[in-house]
Symmetry: C2
Subunit: 327 residues, 2 copies
């Protein structure tokens, strides 16, 4: 049994707990929180919730600690810190800061003889893998990543900060015409606006100026100004009824050519359609927790990403079973 | 520069030659053939064609030998034999015999300190990878593989052996309704007949009994009897004009559930749409030739499949570049 701890019990932590239940070779042994542990109720019978400060004392009882904090401020500190004591997996997803995070974590992991897998999830994660495989196989080609249809937490939060907004949910939606153009193999150059639209469902406070809210959303730099954005005002009840899920997904497509004169065209497409973004992310992380455990058993140490991990490490099946059933 | 040799110069061998041209860190150094070398003309200037018997003498001039023989009789012997002298990659695709092939090749590879990557291509190969990744991430779920639309060489050959047939081309076609059912997440149980149809384009010899040919195709056990099969008689000119390509492709879809009560549904889909089956297969093999070279440099030996190879080994980019640009 691979003994797993969860650091942080929000949507992602709960997703990890659910994923562990589906993996018979792994067991949850502890959940850690920065809140008062007595206020946190988890789903698994017989497993205790501890304060985060207690984690390092349990280093010998946990094979892999899964870090479920946010990428903005939590993980840059937490992953470095806990890699001193544990093999860890995180889902650090600030793409631009991955090289820095990798370097920081790698140093600690090597110094302490642990494995730290960073940026596991679906983007970064499964999407990254597909970008790599596709570009290695078709070096003459072009990559496209589309996201959605799905909820962007960051964009929803940005709307909620506007004066007069009580609540909001924002969906990122890939543009069908752009997807079709990519799939045709025409290697189009697509602007930000051509690739995705943004759909906003907003609950306004009583007496708020709706036209002003709408204008403020549509003109918000970085978040909305470069997109075709629609704003729909709904009631709090409608928001709850129709928009309480956290779906997401997207597409990684590579279009490339082969042949002595590049006369043959090929399209590689990978897509995800997810009812629950955090639960799917958690499922990827748990498979990589198995990989972390096994690589450590074989004597490997240091920081790893999905690029560095042979796929077989992620499966509960043996090499022999995999070759027989899946190759 | 990674120095590559090609053993066997048919469609696949030529595809390898074309793929090497697109990879700046690799160079073709020799082509080997069982034919009289003077009768074989290749595309690359300045590279010599040798008889297959000469290969072992060139062991110090070749980093990876790519084996382009057939799976029925060539590769079971060739891969074992050449692994004595070279790191090799093959595309052995008789799924049921992979465990046996692996065991045979592994022994020789270890005894001689070489890396042998077997069953590289797209199925087995990229499709296998996607079956593994998806099932590791979504253990509660179901896998589906569809092939096509594409030319099946084996089925085309089977038709050509029928009395009165001058030439033929067979396409395997996935059934849209089955694909849609799988994508809906309903986890349907699908029969062979429900998943694929078979389209046959046949050139009959003069005076042949067309009705008899059609019946013989449709009732052929294993090949056609379990499928809805259409037979269309065309002229030799039409066959040449409309059916001389070797397209293929297909879909690997996993539908699975997460959540404490498995209440959330997820669909992972990987698809290929290929103008040239042999050239795409060759492109996958060449990326794995790079992996073979690098793993050998790091001291690894033995037989490997796509499951055992960290994705980063396949890319010409460094780990640092990959993390920066693709993660």
């Amino acid at each position: 049994m691979i003994r797993v701890g969860i650091m942080g019990y929000g949507n992602l932590g709960r997703g990890i707990e659910c994923a562990l239940k589906q993996n018979q070779d792994m067991e949850l042994v502890a959940v850690f929180t920065r809140r008062d542990p007595s206020t946190v109720t988890i789903l698994t019978d017989g497993v205790k919730v501890y304060h985060a400060d207690e984690a390092s004392k349990m280093k010998d009882e946990i094979d892999v600690l899964i870090l479920c904090g946010g990428s903005a401020t939590d993980l840059p500190e937490q992953t470095k810190e806990y890699t001193k004591y544990f093999n860890v997996v995180d889902s650090f997803d600030t793409h631009a800061r991955i090289p820095e995070h990798f370097a920081n974590v790698d140093e600690v992991a090597k110094a302490n003889g642990n494995i730290a897998i960073i940026s596991a999830g679906w983007d970064p994660g499964m999407f990254s893998l597909n970008r790599l495989y596709a570009s290695a196989v078709l070096p003459q080609g072009k990559d496209y990543t589309f996201w959605g249809k799905g909820v962007s937490q960051g964009h929803s939060d940005a709307i909620r900060r506007i004066e007069g907004v009580a609540d909001a949910k924002q969906y990122t939606v890939p543009v069908d015409a752009a997807l079709d153009a990519v799939r045709s193999g025409s290697n189009p150059d697509l602007t930000t606006r051509e690739k995705h639209t943004r759909e906003c469902f907003v609950v306004a406070k009583e007496g708020a100026d709706l036209a002003k809210i709408e204008a403020e959303i549509k003109n918000m730099p970085n978040y909305f100004a470069d997109y075709d954005t629609t704003v729909t005002f709904i009631t709090a009840e409608e928001l709850k009824r129709d928009h309480s899920g956290i779906p997401h997904g997207g597409f990684v497509i590579r279009s490339g050519n082969t042949g002595w004169n590049e006369e043959n065209k090929h399209i590689i497409e990978y897509s995800l359609k997810l009812d629950s973004n955090p639960e799917f992310t958690a499922s990827v992380i748990v498979a990589y927790a198995r990989a972390a455990y096994r690589m450590k058993q074989e004597g490997a140490t240091g920081c790893k990403t999905v690029f560095d991990i042979a796929p077989a490490y992620m499966s509960a099946l043996s090499g022999e079973e995999l070759r027989k059933s899946m190759l």
